[in-house]
């Protein structure tokens, strides 16, 4: 059945409290997506801590299993699990990125990545878990190679943004890196050969249908041929590229603007995430979560996207929305109100 005709609602499953300041970001552990494993996610906050939440098999609710504290000395802005789910990376305003390993249920800080001049704002693992990227207020993007024994070597510092870099995100299948910035642009970093240097091959800016204010976040669809970006200009933009060509080794294929979703958000859009089955979720400073889906009966110009539903989700700004990577249609949202909520997209009873 078409999602648009399905009469769906976002049902609040649980509200998680524990952080004592705004929750900036959260990340589901990808290794816990299978149906027979309790799902786990991490959240990070202005209270300088990271919390690990695990689903209880009996009650089906999430409990805080660990508080990672006394390592970061300032806001923890973002967190990301390695693809294997064994390591957690956390980026902090204290200019460091910490790597945590789950050792028999206890999380130990096994490495601290230093180098950024000041606030680190985002961290991302590539698809194979062999590379890490970080970015921050110093306008740079760093690429780190994961070495044996929890060693991380900075292999390149990428310069090009003219203002602080808000987020970095690797492509889901290829070693292609994306960064978005306070300078209103998204930059694509690409390496022609496996061991070569990354360079900026494309800048998605206002002059080519890009955003007119800070770009806060971006996400890919499951296939990796579409990209969605969100901004302080109150819009979402969808971009597409010939991923088959890139995967077959025929060189870089540029990302082209496909459509702009505007008129939906009243305040800054901080977070955007694409579900496995094609639903785009956005979280904004108007306290709401919105869901968008592709509408097939679009114009001749290809598919368009339309609003599936809007939900007032929190008492304050929604900073992060993340779909559960498994079968279930679960969405987690993190807010300035200090809480995290788990939602289920379900048919109206």
């Amino acid at each position: 059945m078409e999602l648009l005709d399905a009469n769906l609602e976002l049902k609040e499953i649980q509200k998680l409290q524990g952080h004592t300041d705004r929750v900036w970001s959260l990340a589901w552990n990808p290794a816990t997506a299978a149906a027979d494993v309790p799902s786990v996610f991490a959240s990070c906050s202005g209270d300088k801590t990271v919390r690990i939440w695990e689903e209880s098999p009996s009650t089906r609710s999430w409990d805080c299993k660990a508080v990672l504290e006394e390592t970061h000395t300032r806001t923890v802005r973002s967190c990301a699990w390695s693809p294997s789910g064994k390591l957690l990376a956390t980026a902090s305003f204290d200019a460091t990125t910490a790597i945590w390993e789950n050792v028999g249920g206890d999380f130990e800080c096994v490495s601290t990545l230093e180098g950024h001049e000041n606030e680190v704002k985002s961290v991302s693992w590539n698809a194979s878990g062999s590379l890490l990227a970080t970015c921050g207020r110093d306008k740079t993007v760093w690429i780190w190679e994961v070495m044996p024994g929890n060693e991380f070597d900075c292999i390149q510092v990428l310069q090009g943004h003219t203002q602080d870099v808000k987020m970095v995100q690797w492509h889901p299948t290829m070693d292609m890196l994306f960064s978005c910035s306070y300078d209103n642009t998204v930059k694509v970093w690409w390496s022609e050969d496996a061991d070569g240097d990354w360079s900026c091959v494309q800048t998605l800016g206002e002059s080519n249908n890009g955003h007119s204010s800070t770009v806060w976040s971006l996400a890919f669809n499951a296939k990796g041929d579409k990209l969605v970006t969100c901004s302080d200009d109150l819009s979402l933009k969808i971009w597409e590229a010939d991923i088959i060509r890139m995967q077959s080794g025929d060189g870089y294929a540029p990302w082209n603007h496909m459509c702009t979703l505007s008129g939906y958000h009243d305040r800054t859009v901080f977070s955007v995430h694409w579900s496995r089955d094609g639903i785009i979720a956005s979280g904004a400073a108007d306290d709401a979560v919105r869901l968008f889906v592709e509408s097939k009966d679009g114009s001749m110009n290809g598919p368009t996207y339309q609003l599936l539903l809007k939900k007032k989700a929190h008492d304050m700004d929604v900073n992060s929305v993340q779909w559960f990577p498994g079968e279930k249609r679960l969405l987690a949202s993190a807010s300035d109100d200090g809480t995290i909520k788990i939602w289920e997209l379900a048919s109206l009873a």
Partner: protein
């Protein structure tokens, strides 16, 4: 330390006489909307704001006409506040600090559900767009407020005057 003031001779205006009211203004976020809540809120708001000092001078922002009553917009139904301020000189490098003080004062005084925008009055600052963007980027504000030197400065600006 600051060597030489950016605006050494500011124009100082007299403080506006407060409107007289019959009862003390009250603000209860759970209360049913009173008819004149907007007005009461406006007054309360001014009382909160006007003692903020210019980082460079012992005068309050009201005395320097950085903030006037007209520059405060309140939409109670939407829980929205907008403050437009006028820096004392066009190249005032203190504009972001003044804006940060206003934001902190509002954050500390208003219920957390309120949304706020702090802006420089159009045409009153050389880098108006840049100042506005920075003041309304909550990540940069959050980072600034973790800087002890900046917090000290803001606290000093917000310190009550006993004159």
């Amino acid at each position: 330390m600051v060597s030489g003031l950016i605006n050494a001779n500011p124009v100082v205006y007299e403080k506006k006489e407060r409107r007289v009211r019959n009862s003390a203004p009250q603000f209860d976020e759970y209360a049913v909307e009173p008819i004149d809540q907007l007005e009461i809120f406006d007054i309360l708001f001014l009382l909160l704001l006007l003692d903020i000092k210019d980082p460079e001078h012992p005068y309050s922002l009201e005395e320097l006409k950085v903030i006037t009553e007209d520059a405060i917009e309140v939409d109670n139904d939407r829980g929205y506040v907008r403050v437009t301020f006028t820096p004392t000189v066009e190249h005032c490098s203190m504009a972001t600090v003044i804006g940060l003080c206003l934001r902190v004062k509002l954050m500390r005084s208003l219920p957390s559900r309120y949304k706020m925008d702090i802006r420089v009055a159009p045409g009153t600052h050389a880098t108006e767009a840049a100042v506005n963007k920075q003041l309304n980027d909550k990540e940069r504000v959050a980072a600034a407020l973790e800087n002890p030197n900046l917090v000290d400065m803001v606290d000093e600006c917000l310190a009550p005057s006993y004159g």
